[in-house]
Amino acid sequence: MQKIPLDEWVQTLVNWMEDHLTVLFNIISAVIEGIVKGFTWLFMLPHPFLFIIILGILAFLVGRLSLTLFSVIGFLLIYNLGYWSQTMDTLSLVITSALISVVLGIPLGIWCAYSKGASRIITPLLDFMQTMPAFVYLLPAVTFFSLGVVPGVIASVIFAIPPTIRLTLLGIQQVSGELTEAADAFGSTSGQKLFKVQLPLALPTLMAGVNQTIMLSLSMVVIASMIGAQGIGAEVYRAVTQLQIGKGFEAGLVVVILAIVLDRFTQRLFKSDKKRGR
């Protein structure tokens, strides 16, 4: 029996895209690179100590004292270990991919909630994106966007966007039927129903999705570093390939600190808003 030439088909498709969509890829590349560089510039603008003070104040505003203490001590440690600029690079990468995921993911989630057809197509696609090994789509990403931070962001978005889409959909579906009926019964347009009733009520669930998206994009930083994205992931990668166990631990610890701070920040942000309805 003859093998289906699936590999050739994919290769052909990728080649075709490379030949015909270069302009599009260049635009995307420029935009993403611009955003990442903008964030890095912003984060590197203040002196690390000033940055830490601002972070501490923000932490105190959104959360409790423990979060403030952890953020300040954690970032002081990062500075002390000498990973400051790498950490800021990584932070920019993570925030950029989270931002792109949210900007694309929430509308997609809403679309799925409104259209059964969209949901039927997008759901298996999400499964595909979450389970397909990252290295497999890293290669075409490099083909399209060349080495550097951009394919890293793209790979992170592919891996990290599903929770935002899924939980936006779930959040809207969880709004009780009587509430959407009430919105309809008083003559809301679909837009009014969405923005005045469904989204505000879906917000806690939706934000849990955003939180997951941020965590997942952070978990991609090491992989992103393999295709040339600068940052703390690159430090981990270098330490591991050179068998420097101590250095590897240091860089790994920085990732953990960053992860915990980002997680608690995003969780706190929406937990202070207690109004919710099911």
Binding site: S176, E178, L179, E181, A182, A183, D184, A185, F186, G187, S188, T189, Q192, K196, V197, P200, L201, K275, R276, G277
Partner: protein
């Protein structure tokens, strides 16, 4: 003309729902359609005319299709077939924009589980209907506050709905529905989630509000007592069809079939029948006649008291035979012996509340209207007779028994 008219409105659920409407018309039963076509008949060709400013109760057990029916009246559920005419205009033929207008201005809804928006304050909930109409902020605030005041929740506007008790939450639901000043109010089991005492209060309050507002209210309930208490007319539903439509009295006293009969057999008649049911024609005399004429009249009719009225039939009081004969001896006029503080009730008082009055009173109970015109008289026997299940008290109580012990 009726404000709301339903003509053969049906709702069928299932893949080939549309084609099965025809089968219903051909006389297929609900069961046969379910079995052979896997289509569920939710509402089966319901035709109703609902009049302006009446409380029309749609009553039925769960699964009878009443909630589906009420949701078709503002097209939250699309009917499979039939016509729904609001002021003569077919709701089914309206486009989205026109339908929205009807929902915003003509028909409001109150929900079983209140359906308040938990992320909005009480006031913001009440003004929702005006907000989606993009009304001026100050205007809608004012209207919402007025609406809240109407339901007795003045000053609660800034609370969050979950800080309120169930009864208060449903008042907010009612206020929200009233804020748009709709002509028609749909109330879907609006009081079912409340405990019995609160439920009664809410029923009373709804009746009070209705006195003032004169809305057309379509009230869904599974509770027969509630239906009888607040309904001007009741439609009884079973298996998606309307079994009987009538006033509470008609449903009770002339059940259309065995189902209705079984449904209403446990009803406490004393809470349903009113004074106007058990009263009979009073024997009266003009105030300017003398005691002798009065005595003669009583002797002739074989009764021991008489109601004294003026020329406009307004009730002045009642006289007894003993007082009249004493007055005749000493030469007093009827006005001197008039008992003016005898009990009087309005015709719509339920007879449950008449027991105590009739048993304490020395003279028969007078039924009077707003202008104090004498409409009828109630003797104790009539009250009991009505409860014994007699349709017409006039036949049971002998004509000459215009007396109390």
């Amino acid at each position: 003309m009726s404000i709301l008219q339903l003509q053969k409105v049906s709702k069928l659920f299932g893949a080939h729902a549309d084609s099965c409407v025809e089968l219903l018309e051909q006389g297929w039963t609900k069961e046969r359609i379910a079995k052979e076509k896997s289509v569920t008949v939710g509402v089966n060709r319901v035709s109703l005319s609902i009049e302006e400013s009446e409380i029309f109760v749609i009553m039925g057990l769960s699964g009878s299709g009443k909630s589906t029916l009420v949701r078709m009246l503002n097209r939250l559920i699309e009917p499979t077939s039939g016509e729904i005419l609001v002021h003569g205009k077919d709701l089914m033929k309206m486009n989205k924009e026109q339908l929205r207008k009807v929902r915003r201005q003509t028909i409001s809804m109150v929900f079983q589980k209140f359906a308040l928006f938990p992320h909005r304050t009480v006031l913001e909930n009440v003004e929702y209907g005006l907000e989606v109409q993009k009304k001026d902020k100050k205007l809608r605030r004012d209207k919402a506050a007025k609406s809240l005041e109407l339901v007795g929740l003045k000053g609660w506007g800034d609370k969050s709905p979950d800080e309120l008790s169930g009864g208060m939450q449903q008042r907010v639901g009612l206020a929200r529905a009233l804020a748009n000043d709709p002509e028609i109010l749909l109330m879907d089991e609006a009081f079912s989630a409340l405990d019995p005492l609160i439920r009664r209060d809410m029923q009373d309050e709804l009746l009070d509000l209705q006195e003032k507002m004169k809305k057309t209210i379509i009230f869904i309930t599974h509770d027969l007592d509630e239906a009888l208490r607040i309904g001007d007319r009741i439609a009884l539903m079973k298996d998606g069809s309307v079994v009987q439509v009538g006033t509470p009295e008609e449903i009770l006293t002339q059940p259309a079939n065995a189902y209705v009969e079984r449904f209403v057999e446990d009803v406490d008649l004393s809470k349903v029948l009113t004074a106007s049911h058990v009263m009979r024609r009073p024997e009266t005399i003009m105030a300017d006649r003398g005691p002798r004429v009065a005595l003669e009249l009583m002797r002739e009719r074989g009764i021991s008291n008489l109601f004294v009225v003026d020329r406009a039939k307004r009730m002045l009081g009642v006289i007894t035979a003993e007082d009249a004969s004493a007055a005749m001896r000493v030469g007093q006029s009827l006005e001197d012996i008039l008992i003016v503080d005898g009990p009087r009730v309005q015709p719509d008082v339920v007879i449950n509340e008449l027991f105590e009055i009739t048993s304490l009173a020395k003279v028969p109970l007078a039924v009077v209207d707003d202008q104090n015109r004498l409409l009828g008289v109630i003797v104790r026997g009539a009250v009991l007779g009505a409860l014994a299940g007699e349709n017409s008290s006039k036949e049971v109580i002998p004509d000459a028994e215009n007396t109390t012990g």
